[in-house]
Symmetry: C2
Subunit: 134 residues, 2 copies
């Protein structure tokens, strides 16, 4: 069911410093910051040859990243995103297997303009898993 690893998301306490580090110290291709007000984050994508790293920084007081950075002041890996062909079919299969989908259970439109869902970390070895329909 799952396809490519679309991205690994890393929450960072300083988006400019983290972008500069990936660009200069690690020599990667780093994009420009994009505000995603619907998700309460500003994101920077780092293009690797086979996948992406998504740097996440809080946007607004209600950002879901605020709590994560309070617990992890240096930052940390926030989630991983797997691609699926049909997100509703994937969701229904996972629900039938006993996995929990976060929020309303209906896909939202993610940072790439595609439908996404998040799965409960307790059901997936402590990892927050995003599914993105491609």
């Amino acid at each position: 069911m799952i396809g490519r690893l679309n991205h690994v998301a890393i929450a960072v306490p300083d988006l400019e410093a983290a972008s500069a580090q990936y660009r200069n110290t690690l020599g990667a291709t780093v994009g420009a910051p994009q505000d995603e007000p619907d998700h309460g984050v500003t994101v920077v994508f780092i293009e690797l040859p086979n996948t992406k790293i998504e740097l996440l920084y809080p946007l607004g007081d209600e950002s879901p990243i605020n709590g994560f950075l309070e617990k992890n002041p240096s930052g940390g890996i926030h989630h991983i995103c797997y691609e699926v062909d049909d997100i509703l079919k994937a969701r229904d299969h996972l629900l039938a297997e006993g996995a929990r989908v976060l929020g309303s259970g209906e896909p939202k439109i993610g940072a790439h303009g595609k439908p996404v869902l998040f799965l409960h970390p307790k059901d997936f070895n402590g990892c927050l898993v995003e599914l993105e329909q491609v």
Copy 2:
């Protein structure tokens, strides 16, 4: 400098259950467990079309994964691994940039039989970063 994302490593409290979940619930291609006594882990590789997930389970009392699972009993993302062409050149560049290399600073042979190094998580947004020469 960094190339492909070689793998994302997830520490799991039950290797058999996690393997079965990736195989059956998530429909991925899951390999057989491999003991890596030099690293104190048993690993299972999950082959995605563009990269791998490495499930990590402690092997022995001195396993570096024991402490992680004590702090994260459900498991969690343990590290990410970037490929580099020349690990000694990468190391020297990172040291010159002020990053810290864990252990002796000399590459060890990793789970794929290739030289690897680990970088200090505090220097990389709270992420443990492995570099693997390919």
